[in-house]
Symmetry: C2
DNA sequence: AAAATGTTTGAAATGCATTTCATTTAGGTG
DNA sequence: CACCTAAATGAAATGCATTTCAAACATTTT
């Protein structure tokens, strides 16, 4: 409210009877300044309510200590993504960045083109990028990475990917789910999800290889679902039940939320889960264990994920080129 | 990668054969520059891959066009908050800020003291604050607001609050839940949640006044729950069932997640929902409608929330002092 | 054609901190 | 005590864009 001029480093210098560079050094913990002087500066700064102007600092240092995190809130113009998994991922990243004193610039670009990201870099809005979910943006990400932009991506690693990817082993996840359903004796398994997403495609192929290996007489069907909402999954389930002669006895969904919507539809259609049909989700979101019935799912170590993403990006910023990272992936067998 | 010197405004000026101020004006859309010149500058800037250095801009303009959003990820050192409601709220805020070309600095302060916030302001890291959830930070927020910091808070408005609060009408929410349970004929209603949170306390008192008004012979009990996780709610439910002679026939939970955990515990204890006990949650998170059974809950208009929070803050930054805002609150009756 | 007005443009000052390099001070040695 | 080295400090240059104020140019008006 008081509109008096902001306190600057010069003021602190004057009050502490030292020069500006000394204040600068004292505040950034340089070993070049005597203990004594440093304390004096620090206490003056504190009593004046002074904090280094970050913008001047960033301008001068050419380093922002800020990481842009992209969350594609509204992919597929289908309203907000609200998979709690993404939230947990964000929380993990936020914490890991906090531990390294990096600021987090949250960006949910409207136009999903390289430019939106490129501009952040050109304008020195951040030092690097953490992209949560590659989705259908692979081409764009390839382009962006080709410019040499420092980025890490949460998603599925293609060997060919020109950027560092961190993610669970989606193929393994699919196998684990497949083995689980096959062990239960499922004959007609249906996969639910948008296979054009690389991660999800891999989960499907994992499921298929599990089936292939068993030489079982298993039918694997797939429902293409280009929308991640509960509504869409619920409706897709109903449509499928309407159309199909033999109802499925096993379902593997691209996510826990999808699995829940399917279970809900099955219940409304008078089917029993897991009596009539077994269901496996993906992610092990917090609510999975408390769903009715408790949901069997593939857990990704989300907490590790945030730390790994940040660690890799920091190495990139230090000029290294870390390999992609794989996050622990395991089946959590519950009632479905 | 190429470590050539960054493109600056001087370069653009030279290439477009104009002066620096003209470039500055052209890029920020000033009407002072001739259409002709402006286009020339714009095209040069584009082909050079130039974007104004935000840090220099912020330094000079003394305005950051950045809003700090605080998300208390790990309140109560109990691990991450992962209520999807918070995620939706964040998504709404993110979108509303995007629409106004404001950047979003996500902060999850470790030390929950004024200083963490104050420092952001002193260092010109953001122009203002959106605090998502007042939780137990009311005192701190009062202090912070007293310094004249521009902030809006998602929470429950006390008349006395020295800052602008936006939130649903929690008392009304409580009444609606109460009326619903009483209409169902519940006799032994238990409230679940940490009443020391103002929002939650109000929901409880709303429930009580609904009961009072009916002159019913209703017993209202309450389970103090100082932890927002599913686990904690599930355990609290079990403890309560162990200890109580007459089992409750109505539950009103502080959130949908809490309600789900309770339903899960009831189910595991062999109780039927809604046969034996009716349950009302709060927030209407996306999964509520697909829970088994579909969850009755109090919906807050989350999308409006984000817009209102941002709009109020912008007015504050313009020197106004907007009143607190109330978000639409309604009962969504489903099966429980 | 000169005067008056309005429109574009540019030179220079400014915002604030960091860094280089030179200088001073303190400490150690013969 | 003179001399050298190491430690601490400071003057000035620098990073990049915005803004003020004055100058140049274009257009009307008399």
């Amino acid at each position: 409210m008081t509109d008096r001029r902001a306190v600057t480093m010069d003021d602190i210098a004057r009050l502490a009877k030292v020069s500006k560079p000394t204040v600068s050094r004292a505040l950034s913990g340089s070993p070049l300044v005597k203990e004594d002087t440093k304390n004096r500066v620090l206490s003056v700064a504190h009593e004046q309510g002074y904090a280094v102007n970050r913008n001047a600092q960033k301008l001068r240092r050419k380093r922002t200590n800020t990481i842009a995190v992209s969350l594609d809130f509204r992919s597929h113009q289908q309203g907000h993504i609200s998979d709690p998994f993404m939230f947990d991922l964000l929380a993990g990243v936020s914490e890991a960045l906090g531990d390294r004193n990096q600021d987090l610039l949250l960006c949910a670009p409207n136009h999903n083109d390289t430019d939106a990201f490129q501009k952040i870099l050109w304008s020195r809005g951040s030092d690097g990028f953490i992209i949560l979910g590659q989705g259908h943006r692979e081409e764009m990400l390839n382009e962006f990475a080709a410019t040499g932009a420092p980025l890490v991506v949460w998603g599925a690693g293609a060997e060919s990917a020109p950027y560092c990817v961190v993610g669970s082993d989606n193929h393994l996840g699919g196998r684990l789910a497949g083995d689980y359903l096959l062990d239960k004796g499922c004959q007609r398994i249906v996969f639910v999800g948008d296979r054009s997403f690389r991660e999800i495609g891999l989960r499907f192929s994992g499921l298929c290889s599990a089936a292939d290996e068993r030489h079982h007489d298993v039918k694997i069907d797939s429902i293409e679902l280009h929308n991640f909402s509960y509504e869409a999954a619920y409706e897709a389930a109903n449509r499928y039940l309407d159309v199909t002669e033999l109802r499925p006895d096993g379902v593997f969904a691209f996510s826990d939320t999808g699995a829940m919507a399917f279970i809900s539809a099955f219940r409304d259609a008078g089917m029993d889960v897991p009596g009539d049909v077994s269901v496996v989700g993906y992610n092990d979101i917090a609510s999975a264990a408390y769903f009715t019935p408790p949901l069997t799912t593939i857990r990704q170590d989300i907490h590790q994920a945030g730390r790994v993403l940040v660690a890799k990006l920091m190495r990139i910023l230090d000029g290294e080129t870390p390999s992609s990272g794989v996050i622990k992936t395991e089946l959590i067998a519950r009632e479905t």
